[in-house]
């Protein structure tokens, strides 16, 4: 199995995210100074990829990531300890306001040029959306560019079969799941949360990964995103309301009731 995971980086969600106008269009206040993490959806994809690779001998996992090199490097310090993978780094801007078409084209190009990748055995993984602007379109476009027709989105589970085919469970409306059979790769899976908890850090694995990750970062291809013809008229955060009350030892049923009342009265 050859699994390529597409994953970008996003600011740590605990940070204050405040849209500001910059010379290069909209951006987030102090974005480059904020700690970054791997996009959580892509993170789920990576953990699933590692799990799957462990089941099939001879598998390889690549992580393709487009972002500012220095930030990518910081993220790798923790990510490299979570799962074994090889990094393909593209050095360029990563924020919620890049053009998904351009990003997809660059990612597809990077995937095509991965040495040793057998596209006939390719499972293309990624998040079904991202935690930056949540456009939810990038991965599909990468798949289209690579000519992958079997695409699944909102995936929570993949189960391999002995004959090389697999079963995919996707989220559909109404809290339901759709189960499909796929005869085999190549296929694209845009992951929802999956079923795997985030693995614990393992510095030993990290050290091993770093032997290939550092050189990959060093030779990260610089890319620029022109965003021609793209303009934003209005940028704002989704309205959120936080009402905090600290209560101790409240039974779950009562909590549920209170939330129900609150929703009902809203």
């Amino acid at each position: 199995m050859h699994i390529v995971v597409c994953g970008g980086i996003v600011p740590d969600p605990l940070q204050t995210l405040e849209p500001v106008a910059t010379a290069a269009g909209p951006g987030l206040k102090n974005e480059l100074l904020l700690p970054a993490i791997l996009d959580p959806w892509a993170g789920c994809a990576l953990h699933e990829a590692a799990h799957l690779a462990k089941q099939c001998e001879g598998s390889r996992v690549w992580l393709v990531s487009l972002g500012p090199k220095a930030k990518l490097q910081q993220v790798m310090m923790s990510l490299a300890q979570k799962a074994p993978f090889e990094l393909v780094a593209l050095d360029g801007p990563a924020h919620g306001f890049t053009d998904a078409h351009e990003t997809a084209a660059l990612l597809a190009e990077a995937i095509v040029s991965i040495q040793g990748l057998d596209r006939g055995r390719l499972l293309l993984f990624g998040g079904w959306e991202s935690a930056s602007r949540g456009q939810g379109v990038t991965l599909q476009m990468v798949g289209e560019r690579l000519g992958i027709a079997d695409q699944f989105q909102g995936v929570d589970r993949i189960t391999l079969r002995d004959d090389g085919s697999f079963e995919v469970m996707e989220r559909v409306e109404g809290g339901r799941h759709l189960v499909s059979w796929c005869t085999g790769p190549p296929a694209l899976l845009g992951w929802a949360t999956g079923e795997r908890a985030e693995p614990r850090n393992d510095p030993q694995m990290g050290m091993k990964n770093m032997r290939t990750i550092m050189p990959a970062l060093q030779k990260a291809t610089p890319v620029s995103l022109a965003a021609e013809g793209l303009s934003y008229h209005d940028v704002r955060l989704p309205l959120q309301q936080r009402q905090t009350r600290i209560v101790k030892d409240m039974p779950p049923a009562e909590i549920a009731l209170e939330i129900f009342d609150w929703i009902a009265n809203d």
């Binding site: 605990l14 849209p19 106008a21 220095a70 614990r200 393992d202 050290m207």
Partner: protein, 737 residues
């Protein structure tokens, strides 16, 4: 369109709290991804399982509970346990480990220092074996302590370090040992069997330790002096873990008062022994081993307290900003709503003080850790050369090393020469004696200053949170941290022990020669970057040097020597003063490093962070100068007797009639003279004629200069305070996760 809250975004204003990239540059591990990964791994444990335990109330009991015990496995699986080990015993970090352990201590103590203690006490137990053990002892115990590799079914061993004994024995005075070792059986041609009797007090990790490295004295004429022995759970006899210490701090570590009465083979003597004239002579006495061990492990303790100070900044800012939100009268958008307590200058200034102190402590602590990383390989080389030269014993070693002192002192004033095959060995020794003299100061200085002044600063931190500050619910666990800091000031040798160390190491000529070079370096930095307050530090260093020299060569009013190890009122306080300087200096050096590296690191605009850090340096330098000036002035003047009005020789004043007679030669003198005793015996209403500085006029000038150097320091504080009022902080605390 996107709203730019501050359209006049000032580029050099602190924009966010310093992130990993900044810390990596300041503390010099930007090029060490092994350490960067270690930090991430430790942080996940600290802010996850450790923080959850604390929040869940695990600190309410001093018993060693299963929940606390589960942390040990977290330490194993995250690489914390193995970080101490060398590669051949299952470790994964290459080279010396001091900086690595320092970072572990810092990250864990950011949340809870008891967890840091629990993880590091194992290293403390292994350290005697690591530093002075025989090759077999090292190989055996280090690999027993390595966590199991994947697929392996084995529980790693854990150790405790047992020096402190029930009163009236070993505490600060490590020589007063009650624990005894004697020979139980010694058959001809066989390994002797030892009987060890040892009681411990306040021994960390005792709740679960599989082995103990214990300090004991000879209780048998056939054993020479003291030693450390390794005791194992399962050795014949009594291995009683003892009653749990009812401690109020570091409750995530296990502490008790064990009792051992065990039979062990003599091969358990740490470092081995030789048999001379029918006596067992341990190769190392317990003091030698303890010196070598504590010299390194105390650095990590120092960093535990500094982590607390720095970790307090974010919760305090959040508290201050949110203080009035939710009140009916305070409308969203109003100044009070937005800024809360940060409207008030004092609230901001006190956070600046706290932050500056935390930065200085961290700078000093990490510098000490790096100093040992530099020293460790040199020490190995030195040991090798020493063996080759056939030099044996501490005295002979000291004499042998003194032989390179002149070359070492000279090397400070010439650019590093290229080592050639011929001078390579000498070069190693020169570098060793220089590094050793610095490390010997930095370690006790960091342990003393970071924990002692840090504990005081934590009290201030708490008071900034009002009543919340002294509750269990205080965000950032500040209440616990305040109390924990007091333990950090106490265990592994309380403040008096560090001071005792310092008064010896700080007067080492090689250290003082380097201190002189540092002084010049501070002036150079000041010329480039006046805003760091480097000039203040240089002036204060000069004042301290003067005071030291003066006190070393002076006596008090009764003719008793001033600088003397028994005169702790003089020596200890000079040591205290030195620490302020070392911390401030290192903080400035770290800021210069940050500036340089940040400039090279295009893409991340850290100019604002650099300027802010420079302002903190300036604030801290002024504070340090105040402390140094005060202490030195008290010592330089304070041991002279104040002139009195009824001195038979009327020293320091004039007699009224005398002045009148002089008036004829020096018209107007009467108007200038203040301290005059009139014919009727009356004199100005004060303690006596004013004291004159006399031979200390040079000191007076230096002190004056130092006071003037404070110019601008409070402007820096105002700037830093303004930055605190606007800096972006995360929406919510990131622990417990």
């Amino acid at each position: 369109m996107a709203t730019a809250i501050d359209s006049r975004v000032q580029e050099d204003v602190l924009r966010t709290l310093p992130g990993d990239a900044v810390r990596q540059m300041q503390w010099r591990f930007a090029d060490r991804y092994d350490l960067q990964m270690l930090v991430q791994a430790v942080r996940e444990v600290a802010r996850g399982p450790v923080a959850r335990l604390v929040a869940g109330g695990a600190r309410q009991t001093h018993e060693w509970t299963p929940a606390k015990n589960a942390l040990l496995e977290e330490f194993d699986s995250s690489g914390i346990t193995a970080a101490f080990l060398d590669a051949e015993s299952g470790g994964y970090l290459a080279g010396p480990k001091n900086l690595a352990l320092a970072l572990i201590a810092f990250e864990l103590a950011w949340v809870d220092a008891g967890a840091a203690t629990a993880s590091l006490a194992g290293c403390l137990a292994l350290s005697p074996i690591h530093e002075r053990g025989t090759a077999e002892q090292r190989a055996h115990y280090m690999s027993l302590c390595a966590p199991a590799s994947p697929g392996e079914v084995r529980k790693p061993w854990r150790g405790a370090f047992c020096l402190t004994e029930p009163l009236p024995y070993a505490g600060v005075d490590t020589g007063m040992l009650g624990g005894k070792v004697s020979i139980a059986e010694w058959k001809d041609g066989e390994e002797p069997v030892l009987q060890v009797e040892k009681r411990g007090r306040f021994i960390t990790n005792m709740g679960f330790a599989n082995f103990v490295t214990a300090a004991v004295d000879s209780g048998d004429p056939r054993i020479a002096g003291s030693c450390m022995v390794i005791l194992e759970d399962g050795d014949p006899g009594m291995f009683d873990r003892g009653s749990v210490t009812r401690k109020l701090v570091h409750q995530l570590s296990s502490t008790s008062d064990p009792i051992f009465s065990l039979c062990v083979p003599a091969s358990r003597i740490v470092g081995g022994y030789t048999v001379k004239d029918g006596r067992i002579v341990p190769n190392f006495n317990h003091s030698d081993i303890i010196e070598a061990v504590f010299a390194r492990t105390r650095v990590t303790v120092a960093l535990m307290t500094s982590a607390k100070l720095l970790s307090a900044v974010e919760p305090i800012i959040r508290y201050q900003r949110n203080r009035f939100r939710g009140a009916e009268q305070i409308k969203a958008g109003s100044v009070r709503y937005e800024q809360g307590l940060q409207q008030r200058e004092d609230a901001l200034h006190r956070v600046v003080d706290l932050w500056a102190m935390g930065e200085a402590g961290a700078a000093l602590g990490f510098a000490a850790a790096r100093a040992f990383d530099e020293l460790d390989p040199l020490e190995k080389e030195k040991d090798r050369l020493q063996t080759e030269a056939g030099v044996r014993g501490a005295r002979a070693e000291a004499k042998w090393l003194k032989g390179v002192w002149p070359a070492a002192a000279e090397s400070l004033h010439r650019p590093a020469a290229v080592a050639t095959a011929n001078n390579r060995d000498k070069d190693v020794l020169v570098r060793y004696v220089l590094a050793d003299s610095v490390a010997g100061v930095l370690c006790p200085a960091a342990k003393l200053w970071n924990t002692g002044t840090g504990a005081n600063a934590m009290r201030e931190a708490l008071s900034l949170m009002g009543g919340y500050g002294i509750t269990e619910d205080c965000p950032g666990f500040l209440t616990y941290k305040w109390m924990d800091a007091q333990l950090e000031a106490t265990y592994e040798g309380p403040e008096s022990v560090q001071r005792r160390n310092l008064i010896v190491t700080m007067t080492n000529d090689l250290f003082l020669a380097q201190f002189g070079v540092w002084m010049v370096e501070m002036r150079r930095i000041a010329a480039r970057r006046p805003s760091t307050g480097a000039c203040i530090v240089a002036s204060a260093m000069k004042l301290w040097m003067w005071a030291l020299h003066h006190l070393q060569n002076s006596s008090d009013a009764d003719g008793t020597k001033l600088y003397h190890s028994a005169r702790q009122g003089v020596t200890f306080r000079l040591a205290d003063a030195l620490c302020w300087l070392l911390a401030s200096r290192q903080q400035i050096l770290d800021t210069m490093e940050l500036e340089e590296k940040a400039a090279a690191n295009a893409g991340e605009d850290l100019q604002g962070t650099v300027s802010f850090m420079a302002d903190l340096c300036h604030v801290q330098a002024a504070r340090a100068a105040g402390e140094v000036g005060r202490i030195c002035a008290e010592l330089v003047y304070g041991y002279n007797r104040h002139p009195v009005w009824d001195d038979p020789e009327h020293k320091g004043c004039f007699l009224g009639e005398e002045l009148e007679a002089w008036e004829a030669y020096a018209p107007g003198i009467t108007a200038y003279a203040l301290d005059v005793i009139q014919a009727d015996g009356s004199h100005p209403e004060k303690a006596g004629p004013c004291a004159q500085c006399g031979e200390n006029s040079a000191f007076q000038q230096l002190r004056n200069r130092l006071d003037l150097c404070l110019t601008g320091s409070q402007l820096a504080k105002d700037r830093a305070a303004r930055a605190l009022a606007t800096v972006m902080i995360p929406e919510a605390p990131d622990y417990p996760r």
